[in-house]
């Protein structure tokens, strides 16, 4: 029975794959000049890959593989031993670099030229930090933790405060359990709003002001609730990069570097309130960025803007409010769609609450978030990332040539349109297949009955197919 149902899903996808490409090549469907088949066809291919992956998992992945502890130290490291001196030095060095970079952002933002293309701040924050660090986290683990300037500054500050107080510092407040990762989700949404909603959010001074406000808020949070508690729940970037780093096979524990199965780190994500919203912000903000560039939102913007303008807002603020509606709408759409999938999964049994099940599977959305980031921002990282050569030599835009790179330029030929599209589709498919694997593995642990486990995954597959279609649609519109 179970096999028949699973094969039914495969059959449906197969039929779609076989029948629809012919239809999509009919009149009215555009085709990219440099892609041999219409872009629309890729959505059937990608969905087909997901369905086939689902079937393969159902047949050949009968017991959990990622939920087990797989971490092993590299070499002779002892995870229970003291932190090796080597790593302590590395931590101090990376922390110092992080603090220096934070200082550079503030200095260049407040004191540099206010042309975004000539000042290092927008490129460093929105391209290198925001996109580049995602890729580094996926490959090498939680690198940001070492470079986190707020953590690096808070640790010695707490030590100095203890010395000055000449006694134990007052205990930190008990973190409200119900708050979970909601502060981090809010922080991430505000950062997305700075980039995507605020009209001059890329103005160096505005980025510096936002950085300063965020820094103060972070240190206050750390002082109130403790450094580690705030990093785990309130500091948006720590939560963001830590989630991505859990895809990586590399992890440091107690100062010892070790290897684990790729993706297995995600099974250890604590299921705190606000985590689903946080991941919805991760995917929703990228969704809005793609949607904003396409013709659909562009055609809505005047109407939304007129509405706010009729309420007395200035034209500039009306446009910002229109963007805000779009951003909130995108996050709500992602969240809502996931919750629909979870609601469906509840119908198969198990007796789980909606919130419990939503949190149980939320880790499976992290590779999808990476797929969205990689597919949407890869070209930006490849092209605009090169600007760091001259911006690094002249960070304030004053005509300096510190490292001799002032006269370098951007080579837009590093990747072509066709290669970009294939890479984007590859990231989207791979991210969603990884999500399926994680959801399948979790279901095997969660459900006592194997049949219920597989049936719950029909709904998660539904979510994955939806996110795949959305990602490819957004890419096709943004690239048009």
């Amino acid at each position: 029975m179970r096999r028949r149902k699973v094969l039914g899903a495969a059959g449906l996808a197969g039929a779609a794959l076989a029948a629809l490409p012919a239809g999509t090549s009919a009149h009215g469907i555009s085709q990219r000049a440099d892609v041999p088949i219409p872009e629309e066809v890729f959505v059937f291919g990608a969905s087909g890959v997901l369905v086939v992956s689902f079937v393969l998992l159902a047949f050949f992945w009968p017991t959990e593989k990622l939920e087990r502890e797989t971490w092993r130290p590299i070499g002779k490291g002892d995870p229970r031993g003291a932190q090796p001196a080597f790593w302590q030095v590395i931590d101090v060095f990376c922390g110092a670099v992080g603090v220096l970079l934070l200082g550079l952002v503030l200095w260049a933002g407040f004191d540099g030229v206010q042309t975004p293309a000539a000042n290092v701040v927008p490129t460093f924050v929105y391209v290198i930090f925001w996109n580049g660090l995602v890729l580094i986290s996926i490959l090498f683990g939680d690198v940001f933790r070492a470079f986190n300037p707020w953590r690096a500054a808070a640790i010695p500050a707490a030590w100095i405060a203890g010395r000055v107080a000449k006694g134990p510092l007052p205990p930190t407040l008990r973190y409200p359990e119900g708050l979970g990762r909601l502060p981090a989700a809010l922080g991430l949404a505000l950062f997305a709003a700075l980039e995507l909603v605020i009209d001059d959010g890329n103005l160096p001074r505005n980025v510096a002001i936002a950085t300063l406000i965020y820094s103060i808020a972070t240190w206050v949070g750390m002082a109130l609730y403790g450094i580690e508690t705030w990093l785990d729940r309130g500091e948006a970037f720590s939560v963001y990069f830590n989630l991505f780093s859990r895809v990586s096979p590399l992890e440091r524990r107690n100062g010892v570097l070790g290897l684990r199965k790729p993706l297995s780190g995600l099974t250890g994500v604590t299921q705190l309130p606000g985590t689903v919203l946080f991941v919805a912000v991760m995917i929703g903000s990228v969704t809005f960025d793609g949607f904003k560039e396409g013709p659909t939102f562009t055609s809505w913007t005047p109407h939304l803007s007129d509405f706010w303008n009729s309420l007395g807002f200035s034209l500039k603020h009306s446009l910002e409010l229109a963007n805000l509606v779009g951003l909130i709408g995108a996050i709500a759409a992602i969240w809502g769609f996931y919750e629909i999938g979870v609601r469906g999964a509840r119908t198969v049994g198990g007796g789980f609450s909606q919130a419990r099940l939503a949190r149980a599977f939320v880790h499976s959305l992290v590779p999808i978030a990476f797929a969205y980031v990689a597919a949407h921002y890869m070209t930006q990282l490849l092209f605009q990332g090169q600007a760091m050569a001259y911006l690094g030599s002249d960070p304030l835009g004053r005509g300096w040539n510190l490292f001799g790179g002032r006269d370098s330029g951007i080579d837009y030929g590093v990747i072509g349109a066709t290669a970009t599209w294939y890479w984007q589709v590859g990231f989207v498919v791979l991210g969603h297949v990884a999500g399926l694997v994680l959801a399948h593995d979790r279901a095997l642990v969660l459900y006592d009955d194997a049949r219920e486990a597989v049936r719950s995954q029909y709904w998660l597959l539904f979510v994955m197919v939806g996110f795949t279609s959305l990602a490819l649609w957004l890419l096709s519109k943004a690239n048009a």
Partner: protein
């Protein structure tokens, strides 16, 4: 006023992206209904027995 049909190509290519998810959703709805019917039948059989 322009007929939506005249610009079908513009929105049709977006509709194409919905086909997999709508198709899968319909299949899911169908299997869910079938399962509920089966469960009701099994429940009825148990009550009779």
């Amino acid at each position: 006023m322009t007929l939506p049909l005249a610009h079908a190509g513009h929105w049709l290519e977006s509709v194409v992206y919905l086909v997999p998810i709508v198709g899968f959703g319909l299949w899911l709805a169908y299997t869910t209904i079938q399962d509920r019917r089966r469960q009701r039948r099994e429940g009825g059989d148990d009550a009779d027995g």
